[in-house]
Symmetry: C2
Subunit: 302 residues, 2 copies
Amino acid sequence: MPQMPQRVTIWEVGPRDGLQNEKTQVPVEVKERFVRRLVSAGLPVVEATSFVHPRWVPQLADAEELMTRLGDDGRGLPVLVPNERGLDRALELGLRHVAIFGSATETFAQRNLNRSVEEQFAMFEPVVRRARDAGLDVRAYVSMCFGDPWEGAVPVEQVVSVGRRLLDLGASQLSLGDTIGVGTANQVGALVDAFVAAGTGLGELALHFHDTYGQALANTLAGLQAGVTTYDASAGGLGGCPFAKSATGNLATEDLVWLLAGLGIEHGVDLDALVETSVWMAEQLGRPSPSAVVRALASSQS
Amino acid sequence: MPQMPQRVTIWEVGPRDGLQNEKTQVPVEVKERFVRRLVSAGLPVVEATSFVHPRWVPQLADAEELMTRLGDDGRGLPVLVPNERGLDRALELGLRHVAIFGSATETFAQRNLNRSVEEQFAMFEPVVRRARDAGLDVRAYVSMCFGDPWEGAVPVEQVVSVGRRLLDLGASQLSLGDTIGVGTANQVGALVDAFVAAGTGLGELALHFHDTYGQALANTLAGLQAGVTTYDASAGGLGGCPFAKSATGNLATEDLVWLLAGLGIEHGVDLDALVETSVWMAEQLGRPSPSAVVRALASSQS
């Protein structure tokens, strides 16, 4: 088996990508507790919320209040900013780490950003420039990297082109997203290799998998074999309901931790504390966690 | 990424390993239809039932009736025979393919077979000999190959020793089972390599994963990279209820097919026909399938 990294950074997206896809409106004090518990469990990066317009994501309408409550403890936590207005809000709060959300495909760019792939760069340019000028770190999500519900398979060159443009604007890291969960292992290796061939460092890449077709952990293994050291995951698999006809959730952080622990790869997370947090959060949402590890360990604990 | 096989054989265990772990008693005519639909969907091997005493597995008490209904179409389908009495029943029906079920660990041998690891060989010896003498093919399951709930991690040498003994008795293939789903990718590669180092051909090995900790497909990818060409799976993920606190189900055949298709590995299965079969079976059981692919595709079809 190929050499794999000795250490991996888990980028926890539960409070943002998870909760924005949950139907239940979670009170801000529960969100604050959730973020604090995730940090306490050893997660090195916890993306806290999104400064998107409440009309589009009412679940995160309390972004300012959450970050105000977190205070100094929240300054270093990344938040999503879709545009300059979002960045203004982050800057007013003194935050130091933001993320933008781009698209690798035309159809999703039109539907999600209301502009073309080319036009998205004009929108992101002042966001990244002003953030960097203010000393902030900027991550760039690239969505639909492995398949698009309208366009089907997405050419590797197209993803690399979009990603490189975002790095050239000043982003420090790309999060390559399989937004609809259709990708498989060889695609992961091919995409990472293509980015590296285009001059991208492995440290500039993160992988963001959804488990819609059950492939998230197999794709993670392929990413590890390709040398990528940052993986996005959502505590308890938040963002995908196991009772919905179509479960479109994020890779569960606990399932990722189980894989990493089994492979002997350092991750820094206290799995028991994380499972306890996810069980508690599932109670807040009134339904069991979709994470296999949470279900197995919560059952064995009781 | 390492070279992977061009073609894989899926060993469908839904009617046996799946249904024996479902609480719902499925009528024999539904089982017959299930087996026939799985064969029609292109699955090259469908393990039909188990000739175990009905006291232990009442779900499969109708084994004779099922195989009688299947008639000539069922002669080549493997059935589990726990002992000589089970073999006698299979021989009376003219079946041509049986499987035995051994244990790699002492505790599970005592609990499941009521004898020691060493004593199991004495029990299996006449079963395999008589089956081979009658011209039958014999598969040997080896359970608890990656971890045991009472003994923890299972030494590779112990698994290889048990597996080699079963091959030496006359079994043509070993199915190495992660019965409690705790294994991770590197263990898979290490176990396969150890069997090969002990003189076992890759064609004599199959891998049988459970998704209890979400690792089944990542482990499958590791198995493919190690060169194994036969994988057990259960249509629709039968055998693990997504609503139970502890989901201990088999790898879903549909999720395996999605991986193989994405990797460009031939499998011969009609995924649409398989998903339709699993949706129908889930209706018989009165609850949704735990397979991610079934949920995603059934949702997109409706």
